[in-house]
């Protein structure tokens, strides 16, 4: 036996390069999916209006930060044209939420934050105002009231994007979305006895039967239902929206303290019959063997891809699937329908406010180019800007102007989704508008662990047992956390009560307009 010398760094360099190439080639197909729907020709359809205000010379590049995704698809086409028209440099950054949560606070502290940005997830706008992060649009956008009048009712709400009477946020996309639509492969649905559509939702029994029939009649090559099981928000959204269809009147999209509150009573309702039955439906589909195996290690985009590839027949997901499937695989024949509902029920999907909180943009209080931020904000709040947005983004993040959604160039399916959501989704009361002190509650609320998403996941995997018991335990924990946050907020002068959550005049079948 004799020794062998170890080679040096050149081998490492070679290994790094070769392995990166080899594995990138393997992974490339799935990674490329999300960007294929960029259509350069769309940029030609974006027209940049004349400036809405006198624009001073730019102080360095105009910088814009948001959470990317579909916003990135639009702004990467919009900003080059805008920069050319205005003769300035624009830097656009689309970052994941967890990076915004770290990068933005640091930027604010050291003075390098962009001119316009999304707030970090879970940060109440009132906190951003109190911390001095953002500045009002009142002095930036000329004739602000006239501009705001062009938005649909419910776009500007105290506590949501208006703080103490001043307007801070640009609400340019609508939250009127159902994130648990039934999307299905028509080839798979042909294996069943059902023919769902936008006006013909499945009942829960039919949904379960369809999942079983797809699994059985495909000879094992396809499973009835799939979910992105390692994404907690998919579990909570699907459960809440199934329960909504059964009559539960609470939102799934709200963050933190007001999650799953039925404003008719002011109570947290996660252990009501509608929730218990919705959970039992998911468990029954699992026990039937109709759920795609391995969902706990799939995220939502991966789950979506399996439907397109023929591995699963149905998925409960949002409208953003439609343009992605249409762009990635024009030959894929798929249909859509409202979230399945229990027999004889037709409950509405509830959202907590009309403007999408995740997309709302704010102007940095220390912005170097606030006028350009205001100029872009103004444009996005006009019909031209809204139509341009709708042309690119489609139903994924619908423009907040209903007319823009009508005028935008979209596929028939996209139009059908928007029409379905107009009919299906309703806006709940906005507690912050009537009781601004609840912004302090939101700030102090410490969400219990496990939360709803965790509990649903735990029940599905069998790590928790007893649906009613688990959901009741969760409700107790949520109530305790909310009561503690209210007490703590009142100690800081919030002046709020649990009774403030009661809106006895709320009819969940219509938008709350007060």
């Amino acid at each position: 036996m004799s020794t062998r010398q170890i080679d040096g760094l050149s081998r490492r360099a070679f290994l790094a390069s070769s392995s990166a190439f080899a594995l990138a080639a393997l992974a490339g197909r799935s990674l490329a999916q999300e960007v294929k729907n960029i259509d350069p020709s769309i940029a030609e359809k974006i027209t940049i209006a004349d400036p809405s205000l006198d624009l001073p010379p730019a102080d360095g590049p105009f910088r814009w930060l948001d959470s990317g995704g579909q916003k990135g698809v639009f702004y990467r086409q919009f900003f080059p044209k805008y920069a050319e028209t205005r003769g300035i440099e624009v830097v656009y950054d689309g970052l994941p939420w967890n990076e915004i949560a770290t990068v933005l606070p640091l930027g604010i502290r050291n003075g390098s934050a962009p001119d316009a940005f999304n707030l970090p997830n879970g940060m109440p706008p009132a906190v951003a105002v109190a911390e001095g992060w953002v500045q009002p649009l009142d002095d930036l956008i000329p004739d602000l009231d006239a501009w705001k009048a062009g938005f649909p009712a419910g776009s500007f709400v105290e506590g949501v994007n208006v703080i103490e009477g001043k307007t801070y946020g640009l609400p340019y996309t609508s939250e009127r979305r159902c994130s648990s639509l039934l999307l299905f492969s028509r080839k798979a649905m042909e294996l069943t006895e059902f023919d769902p559509g936008p006006g013909a939702p499945l009942t829960w029994d039919q949904f379960r039967t369809a999942a079983a029939q797809i699994t059985k009649n495909s000879g094992g090559s396809m499973f009835g239902l799939i979910m992105g099981g390692n994404q907690g928000n998919r579990w909570s959204a699907n459960l809440v929206q199934l329960a909504n269809r059964g009559g539960a009147a609470c939102a799934s999209s709200v963050a933190g303290c007001l999650s799953c509150v039925d404003y008719r009573t002011g109570e947290i309702v996660v252990d009501k019959d509608e929730f218990v039955e919705a959970m039992e439906l998911l468990l029954a589909i699992r026990d039937d063997g109709s759920m795609f195996p391995g969902i706990m290690s799939l995220n939502a985009p991966q789950a979506r891809a399996f439907v397109e590839q023929g591995g699963a027949g149905m998925i409960l997901q949002g409208p953003w699937n439609v343009p992605i499937w249409e762009a990635n695989n024009p030959d894929f024949d798929f249909g859509l329908a409202p979230t399945p509902a229990p027999e004889g029920k037709d409950g509405k999907t509830i959202v907590d406010a009309l403007p999408s909180a995740a997309n709302t943009m704010y102007v940095n209080a220390a912005a170097k180019n606030p006028a350009y931020a205001a100029d872009v904000f103004h444009y996005m709040g006009t019909l031209d800007g809204q139509v341009a947005w709708g042309n690119v983004v489609g139903p994924s993040d619908p423009p907040i102007f209903p007319k823009a959604a009508e005028e935008a160039e979209m596929s028939e399916r996209s139009k059908a989704v928007i029409a379905l959501q107009e009919k299906q989704v309703r806006v709940s009361p906005v507690v912050y508008a009537r009781s601004p002190g609840f912004t302090k509650v939101a700030q102090l609320y410490e969400e219990p662990t496990p939360n709803l998403a965790n509990v649903v996941q735990g029940l599905y995997t069998g790590q928790l047992s007893g649906v009613k018991e688990s959901l009741s335990k969760l409700k107790d924990a949520m109530n305790a956390a909310l009561d503690k946050a209210i007490t703590d907020a009142n100690a800081e002068g919030a002046n709020v009560r649990r009774e403030d959550l009661v809106y006895s005049d709320w009819d969940p079948s219509v938008d709350y307009a007060s």
Partner: protein
Amino acid sequence: MSATELHIPHTPAATRQGLAARIWKSRIDYLFLVPGLLIFGAFIVWPLIASEYYSLLNWTGFGAAKKFVGLQNYRELLQDEFFLNAFKRSFLFTLATVPLQMFISLVFAILLNNKLLKLSTLFRTMIFLPVVTPVVVIAIVIALMLSPFNGPINGLLLDAGLFERAVDFLGSPQLVLWTLAGVFVWKWTGVTLIYWLAALQTVPEELYEAAKLDGVKTWQVTVFVVLPIIAPFAVVIGLISAIAALNVFPLIQSTTQGGPFFASEVMEVFIFRIAFAPSGGMVPQLGYASAAGVLFGLAVMILTIFQIVAVRRARRKDPANG
């Protein structure tokens, strides 16, 4: 400064000079240390001190309102079952991976150290390939490989008749941590292999030759000659591997994000979840997360101290050290 000033002979007169004077005389030398010290201070020392300070606060991490709460975060952590479980999982993960990784890589190292082995370069490359592959790419590939729907590993297991149904390696609460441990070992065995190969360079060539002349079998040389000589390296390699195994955030976050239902949530994933609330719905608690980080850091430090003591003992027993 002249060359003579830079190279002062080490004389008794020089050592009698004050520290400040000696530093001043060698100021150019110290100047070269400044960039490194600045980087070390900014990215190692400052975060350490800051996290200890933050751990005493009730602070979201983004608001200006910081409330000093003393040791309350620590008291709450010690009663937080999710913290305790994550803590336990981190060390279970380490206990599972380090011995396995060290054993497998040692076997590979001994085999690859043999000049008679053909294609050893190719084998070494194959073993090292996962090391230089980005974790995120590995996460994607592993999810495909282990998929219970059409993954090739499940295909093999089913075709071999070992299982009647496909195994959900990453979705089963009972299997997920051990599956990730296996992936971790596969990814990092190449690094440990390099350490062992380096250790094997210390075995004198004459010992192999003497054993050959005496007609000793290869396995006997390995067990009775090579292993005793390289045994002291095991402590150092174990320490490095253990610290690496406690830092598995990228692998777990990019595969399971700590799920299903926290079954693979190790300490770093727990800290990330609390500190940044990446899924939204909850307000980040940087103070609480910092306290968790400090406790975890202390535990790792204690582990390190134990291993340093073990290294010293091993050195004392090492005949090569007299």
